[in-house]
Structure formats: structure tokens, C-alpha cells
């Protein structure tokens, strides 16, 4: 574990991670290593197990086999509500926020989880927690929703929803962020916004990113892992991956 100095060990490491749903093997022996401070992308055709991999890491699904190490600590099978407190947060492929709460409350409640006071803290009004309030506003500003604080999440446009989705994730003050297709369903301009946002996170956070839009992946990633049929079939820098035959075959030459 960390002894105070910035560790050179990978922030996240999975070891032969496997997940079976009955007869279906969704993830097969995935051993992944993510270096601190990098942006590591996971790509692959639909159904290749990327989201399931995220679920295994963040605790939504228990692996059938294999282990997950976060900052050197074995977190395999820990319930999902433990992970943010350890420094890991994720966003979801399909916007998964709190529909009837306002954008502000969405981020607030996520930020508060990490600043929970002792039992007596709960006797205070929610509005009295200025640090949480400040953090919520800051994050909403960062994701471009400063003008939408009181709007109910269910009233937001798709682009704004995705921004909120990321905002809620960041509110956990994580060191590692798992972003599952943040640009999913976004129009070109919104996609650019989101890409810039994600790029702006590099350095402050370590990012594990699932993306379909190749141009984005190639331009912003430090490392890429390619998945197909639940396995990692290739891994390397963007250039290495681009040249890789197996990868080309997996995508049947097509580009998304």
C-alpha cells in the first residue's frame, strides 16, 4: 500500500477476471493494468464485455473468477457502495442519475457521500453544509451545467444528462474514474464538449474509458485495450493498436 510517496504501481489491476452468466461467458480472463494519471481506453464491438468488465471492477457484478486490485488493495467482490470511499467511481452507459431530483441535488448527494459527518452531523440541515454546496457547484460548473442547477434531472436534454452523469461520478472525489461511453448518443457538437471535458480531467484523475468513437479514442488515450468476445485481444499505445491485425479483424475493417 501507499507509503506516502506517489506509487509507481498501477492504480488498477485485474487478474484473470472472468464472469459467467449461466452458460454465457461475458468476460474471460481479463488481466488489465491501468497506470496512475493516464487515460486508458477499452474498446471493442458491442457485446464484447466492456460494460460487464466495468461492473466487475466497480462491484455491481460479482466475478466468477479472478481478482481486482485497486491501489494495491484487493477489492474483488466488494459491494459497490464501498468503492467510492476507496477512491473509485464510475458512470453508466445509460444515464443513471436521480430523475426527480434537481441537477444540483444529484451532484450534492454524491458529494455528500464522501463527506459524511458523524451521526450528529445528520441533525443539521442539508443546506448548512457549505463545503458540499461549494463542491457541487464547482462540479456542475465544470461539466457545463451551472445554469441548470434547479432543473429536475428528468427534464434535461440528452447531452445535459450525459454531462450530469459524469458530474455525479466526479462528485465522489475519486482518484480513478470509470467512464462508460460518456459521448453515447451525443450529436457532434456535444461530443466535442464532452471530449474536451474528459481531456480536461487527465492528470487530475486516472481515467478508464469505454468509447466507441474511434477518433476520440485514438486522439486522447495513453493506452488502449481491445476486447472481443469477453477477452482482451490486444493492448498498447494507439499506434500499436491501430496496426494490430487482430484488432482490424475484430472490427472487420469497419470504423465506428
Amino acid at each position: 500500500m501507499s507509503d506516502g510517496a506517489i506509487s509507481r504501481d498501477p492504480i488498477l489491476r485485474t487478474e484473470r477476471l472472468t464472469c459467467d452468466f449461466g452458460a454465457l461467458r461475458a468476460v474471460s480472463g481479463v488481466s488489465l493494468s491501468v497506470e496512475r494519471g493516464t487515460l486508458h481506453s477499452v474498446i471493442g464491438p458491442n457485446g464484447s464485455g466492456k460494460t460487464t468488465l466495468f461492473n466487475l471492477i466497480s462491484g455491481e457484478t460479482r466475478p466468477t473468477d479472478g481478482r481486482v486490485y485497486f491501489e494495491g488493495r484487493d477489492v474483488t467482490g466488494r459491494p459497490s457502495h464501498d468503492l467510492p470511499h476507496l477512491g473509485l467511481a464510475r458512470c453508466f452507459q445509460r444515464t443513471n442519475v436521480f430523475p426527480k431530483l434537481s441537477a444540483y441535488e444529484n451532484v450534492w448527494v454524491a458529494a455528500f457521500a464522501r463527506r459524511t459527518p458523524g451521526a450528529f452531523g445528520f441533525l443539521r440541515r442539508a443546506s448548512d453544509f457549505s463545503p458540499v454546496d461549494a463542491e457541487a457547484r464547482r462540479i456542475l460548473g465544470e461539466v457545463g451545467l451551472a445554469h441548470k442547477l434547479p432543473a429536475r434531472a428528468e427534464t434535461l436534454s440528452h447531452g445535459e444528462s450525459r454531462a450530469l452523469e459524469v458530474g455525479v461520478t466526479l462528485a465522489s472525489s475519486p482518484r480513478l474514474v470509470l467512464l462508460d461511453e460518456p459521448t453515447q448518443g451525443l450529436a457532434p457538437e456535444a461530443t466535442q464538449h464532452m471530449t474536451r471535458l474528459v481531456q480536461g480531467l487527465v492528470g487530475r484523475y486516472t481515467i478508464l474509458l469505454i468509447e466507441h468513437k474511434m477518433r476520440i479514442v485514438m486522439s486522447i488515450s495513453n493506452r488502449i485495450s481491445v476486447m472481443a468476445f469477453g477477452e482482451v485481444i490486444a493492448e498498447g499505445t494507439p499506434d500499436e493498436v491501430r496496426e494490430n491485425r487482430d484488432v482490424q479483424r475484430a472490427y472487420l475493417g469497419g470504423r465506428r
Binding site: 466497480s58 455491481e60 459491494p79 459497490s80 457502495h81 464501498d82 468503492l83 467510492p84 470511499h85 467511481a89 464510475r90 453508466f92 443513471n96 442519475v97 436521480f98 430523475p99 426527480k100 431530483l101 434537481s102 444540483y104 441535488e105 450534492w108 448527494v109 454524491a110 455528500f112 457521500a113 464522501r114 459524511t116 452531523g121 445528520f122 441533525l123 443539521r124 440541515r125 442539508a126 443546506s127 453544509f129 454546496d133 445554469h147 442547477l149 434547479p150 429536475r152 455525479v168 462528485a171 465522489s172
Partner: protein, 338 residues
């Protein structure tokens, strides 16, 4: 008109006015019952409206509070405040135990479990005649005076008891408001809205559900205590599914998730049941029909009906929605924005 800090004061003033004026419209006994069940309805609203768990067994804790109070007064001649504390505590403990098992399941299962436990406690109360009096109920419950230090206020008269009940209600209301305004309020709502995400951002969902359930049990137990002293007897019915259903109906008809909805629901329900049952013994039939109609056509309850009426008369909607836990500044900003 109802927004902002002045709005809060206005709502409070209306509430106090309602408390003061109610005995002019109904008998003090009925008025007392209204505030007693308002407490129980508020409690259910906390777990249903705010946290998303529909409990069909709140009578368990209502009855536990009532029987505890009755026994404390009959066997130990306990003073009033001790009885109030005792019943509330037993309600909380009962809810902690029952809740622990029930929250292991969600949705439909949860509901059936709360119903099942309610029946279990009902059967225990029915059979354990030595303690509860069984079918005959627990009679001979006095109404001890309210004694604080040297001061001792007798509560024998219906009017005086009404004042006591209403005051207790106001305190309970204030407590509920503080709970809902605290971070717990938003956390509970986040669990209702999206339990998977609530867990993903770091909340132990089961634990918070359990906390909500236990808090609701405490409030409901308190209501039970007040009820035990209404007629000097704890009827077996206080722990039966009938009361559980009544409380659910009150919350539904008043409007879910809204802090004032349950109050309206309790008032409407009690007033209606009083008025109709005098005329017709088959009053549950009307209740059933009303419930069916509300469920099919008026799901927002009375609050929604009230809101629609206000909007129809051109006023700005007097809406209080569950999401309104924003600090005043933010709300004011949003109103300033064109």
C-alpha cells in the same frame, strides 16, 4: 406564493390555524384522531414517499406503541412523558427488528413481508390475552396528567387532550421536517429514485432503508401512545391490517412525497370515515371504491387536486415537490433567471 422562507412561514401559519380551527368543525375526539393518524401518515410518507418503500404493516408499530403505553400506565402507573418515550422507543425497536428482515427484499416482496409481520403481531396480540386482552382489547387505561417539575396539567377533558395531542403533533411535525431537511432527506430520495446509483456513489442502501424504517416506526409508535389514551382502551384493531391499510390510504389520498400531503390525507380520511360510518355500517365499501377511483384517476392525491384547482384559478402552482431541498439561495436564483 408558497416558495421561499416567507412561504415556509405561511405554511406553518396555515398549519397552526388548522390546528386551532379544527375543533370548530369536528368533535375534539375526531380532531385528536386526525392529528394522531397524521403522525402515523407522516411516518409512512417518510418510507414510502421519500424512500420508496411501501409498508403495508405500519399498524405493527402503532399497536406496539399503544400496548406498551397501556401496560406502562396500568401496571407501573408511569408518568405521561415516560409513557410517550416508552411507546416511541418500543415502536422504534420493533421497526428495527422487523425492518431488518423486510429490507432484505425489495418492492413486492418487501410489501408482503411487512404485511406478513403485521399479521404475526396481530396473532400474537390476539392469543396473548393475559397481556393484551386479546379480542376484548386492553381496557382501563388512564390519562395521566402532564407533569413537568412542579407543574401538573390534568388532561381528562377532550379539549385539553386535544391540545396535548396537537402539541405533540406539532413537535413530531417539526422533527419530521428537520429529518427531511437534513441530508437524510436527499439520501432517502436518491434511494427511491435510483438505488443502484445511490449505492454506486457510496451509500449503503440497506442501512439507510433500515434507518428510515426505524425512524418511521418511532413516529408511528408515538402515535399509538396517543391513541391508547383516547378511549381508555387499546382495541385489538389498533394492530390489525385494517389500520395498516388506513394509513396507506391516508398517504395516498393526501399526496405522496409531500410533507403536507399525509396531513390532508389523515384529515380527509378520518372525517370521511366518521361521517359515513355513522350513516352506513358498510363504510369500507365506500373506502374501497374511493381507493380504486383515486388509484385509477387521481394518483397525485388531494395535493394534486388542490394544485390543479389553484392553477385553474390562475394562481402560481402551490407545488411542493419532493425535490425541493435546495438551499434558499439556489431557489431564489432560479426564480430570478428569466
Amino acid at each position: 406564493m408558497f416558495h421561499g422562507p416567507r412561504g415556509a412561514l405561511l405554511r406553518l401559519a396555515l398549519l397552526i390555524a388548522a390546528i386551532v380551527l379544527l375543533p370548530l368543525f369536528v368533535r375534539p375526539v375526531v380532531a385528536s384522531e386526525i392529528w394522531i393518524f397524521a403522525i402515523a401518515a407522516m411516518a409512512l410518507n417518510l418510507i414510502f414517499g421519500y424512500t420508496g418503500m411501501l409498508s403495508f404493516g405500519q399498524a405493527t408499530f402503532f399497536g406496539l406503541g399503544a400496548y406498551t403505553a397501556g401496560l406502562m400506565m396500568i401496571r407501573w402507573h408511569a408518568p405521561l412523558l415516560a409513557v410517550l418515550a416508552g411507546g416511541t422507543l418500543v415502536g422504534a425497536l420493533g421497526a428495527a427488528a422487523v425492518g431488518y428482515v423486510c429490507i432484505q427484499r425489495v418492492g413486492t416482496y418487501f410489501i408482503m413481508l411487512t404485511f406478513g409481520f403485521n399479521q404475526m403481531f396481530y396473532f400474537i396480540a390476539y392469543k396473548w390475552t393475559a397481556v393484551t386482552g386479546g379480542d376484548d382489547g386492553l381496557p382501563g387505561i388512564p390519562r395521566p396528567p402532564l407533569s413537568v417539575g412542579p407543574l401538573s396539567i390534568p388532561l381528562e377533558s377532550s379539549t385539553r387532550y386535544y391540545v396535548f395531542v396537537a402539541t405533540t403533533f406539532l413537535l413530531a411535525f417539526y422533527a419530521m421536517k428537520r429529518i427531511v431537511d437534513s441530508p437524510l432527506g436527499v439520501i432517502f430520495q436518491s434511494i427511491r429514485e435510483n438505488p443502484v446509483r445511490a449505492a454506486a456513489i457510496g451509500y449503503d442502501v440497506k442501512r439507510f432503508k433500515w434507518i428510515a424504517f426505524t425512524i418511521a416506526g418511532a413516529f408511528t409508535g408515538c402515535a399509538g401512545v396517543l391513541y391508547s389514551m383516547m378511549f381508555g382502551i387499546v382495541p385489538l384493531e389498533s394492530i390489525s391490517w385494517i389500520v395498516s391499510g388506513d394509513i396507506v390510504f391516508m398517504v395516498l389520498i393526501g399526496g405522496i412525497g409531500n410533507l403536507y400531503g399525509p396531513l390532508l390525507g389523515a384529515a380527509a380520511f378520518k372525517w370521511l370515515s366518521e361521517a359515513i360510518s355513522v350513516v352506513w355500517e358498510r363504510w369500507p365499501l365506500i373506502l374501497g371504491v374511493a381507493l380504486v377511483l383515486v388509484v385509477l384517476f387521481l394518483r397525485g392525491g388531494l395535493v394534486e387536486a388542490f394544485t390543479r384547482l389553484r392553477d385553474a384559478f390562475g394562481g402560481p402552482g402551490a407545488r411542493r415537490e419532493p425535490g425541493e431541498t435546495l438551499p434558499q439561495r439556489v431557489r431564489a436564483e432560479s426564480e430570478a433567471t428569466p
